[in-house]
Amino acid sequence: MLKLKLALLNVLRNGRRSFITLLAIQFGVISLILMGGFFASMYEGMRENVIRSQLGHIQIYSEGFNQFGSQEPEQYLIDPDVLKQVVEQVEGLEQVALVTPRLNFTGLLTDGSKSLAVIVEGINPDKEALLSSAVRLTQGEDLFDEDLEGALIGDGLFNSLNLEIGQSLTLMATTADGSFDARDITATGAISTGTREVDNRFIRMNLKHAQELMYTQGVTRLVVLLNDTNQTETVMALLQAQFAEKGLALELRSWSDLADYYHEVVNLFDGIFTVVQFIVLVIVLLGIVNTMVMAVMERTPEIGTIRAMGATRFEIISLFVSEAFILGLIGSVLGVVFSILLAQGITASEIMMPTPPGSSQTYPIRIFTESDLLLKNALFGLAIAVISSIYPAVKASRMVITQALRFA
């Protein structure tokens, strides 16, 4: 009780030094929270972008598609009768916002003079408009169900072929039975998915028209959009169980299973974050250790006196460590408060970020302050303070009592 009070009074005793230590701790806590919060917002932006432009939350395929589908995609289509049953079932779940089919194949797009290999996606325009909210129309008009021949061209592709809105094009593809066929399509608009690579070779067209070209009634996949990304695991498990029960030969993939690029970026940035964390740790540590060593030196006679009165070495260590703990606690709390204020200020300022890697769209900077990030870094600040007090505290405890007393 009195020991704690003494520690507290000692913290207050040298205001300037405590202030410097507090600043160092706050610097550490704030920089890590802001950086972590920025990364978290970036991860979320990437995740939601890839979900709402390409992947949805969950994709449903015919069994075997993910293993063999790349060789013989036409062998692993979902049949129309299964499709109907599954759509009804999935739509019945309260977590599901919508479910829509896609037919994917590769083809050759020609404008009469040039031909380019393209990735084609046959879609249900009305539903896809809701799902693919992150797909931006950069020119022209969207697709609609009644316009069979309409197609949206990735804007990279659109520009490289020097297309115009309304221009007629020919799309060739290998059909489901192995022959070769072609259909005319009309470029009604240019789109950007946010991923440049995709935009350079991507076409979206009406599912019915795509099915006619491919001679099939089936679809490659069903894409499910949920109300909340956090529900992905739950719904996956639910659907898995239902499909098994009904004996449907289907397989499921979550956005996370499919978003390799997202995971690569997250891993890279997590690595960067770890390095920065280490650097901040060292900077703050060096900053505090120095001031704490000075505090110990200054109080040499006091340490001698307390030891003479019978304090053990451990009690001397615990005195200085508890002072550091108090400083760490105050510094962390202040750091968290300032971090929240700064994060809100920066987010409200809507400063535009440079384009993220591999992306073709820019976003205003956002910094998330999720509670686990705040807690983790508050503990980090506390730990730094305590760790940096150990060396000076041990030094204090090892003082020769008679020599320490001579400085009185």
């Binding site: 003494l6 005793r13 006196t305 003479a308 009165m309 304090a311 451990f314 009592i401 008679t402």
Partner: protein, 238 residues
Amino acid sequence: MSVVKLQQVSRAFPVGNKPIVALDKLDLTLEKGEFVVLRGASGSGKSTLLNLIGAMDDPDGGEVYIHDQALSTLSDRQKSKLRSRYIGFIFQSFNLIPVLTALENVQYPLSLQKVPNAQAKARAAEALEQVGLADFIHRRPNQLSGGQMQRVAIARAIVTKPDIILADEPTANLDSETSTQIMDLLGELNVQTGLTFLFATHHDFVLSRASRVLELKDGKIIKDDKLRGLTSVKTKAS
């Protein structure tokens, strides 16, 4: 049973290549209730002797016993506990903790003994009353005069009811009138409580309080006078 016993205690400090002998094969026994004045010129070894008895320093030869406990056999932790239980210190420069009030300074050694807070507070207030500072218990050291600070230090030394109080020139920083008052106080405490005092000084005016006077020179005891009978002190104490 003797409170303190030294057998052939030597202590030398290495200075350059020729060590300075601060204490030379010293034998000494202190009995309970004695008020021992330790005289000697500056550099005669008084502080060195007090440090050894106070279990804060180790002899190079011989053995120091507190309550028949040989200090050389104790760990640092055990010596700390022994200091806490049996020894009180009074220093020349008072050595109060500046951020604590008088009451808290006196309470501190009790908190090291893990005495519950309320009880420690009561005992500290009582000790401060014994040294005549009942009205100053909430002052910080910088709000007290030198004599008052030393009274707080005395209260801090007696509050744990130690067996011996080691005072190393406690009046050296005080004017002569205040010094006399402090000496009177220590003498009274010796008589009232039977506390054993070992009091190092190079002044003569303290001698009237002494029951025994030791004189040190070059690390040796050259004089050991018992001035008044110990029995009288014991009678008054009991």
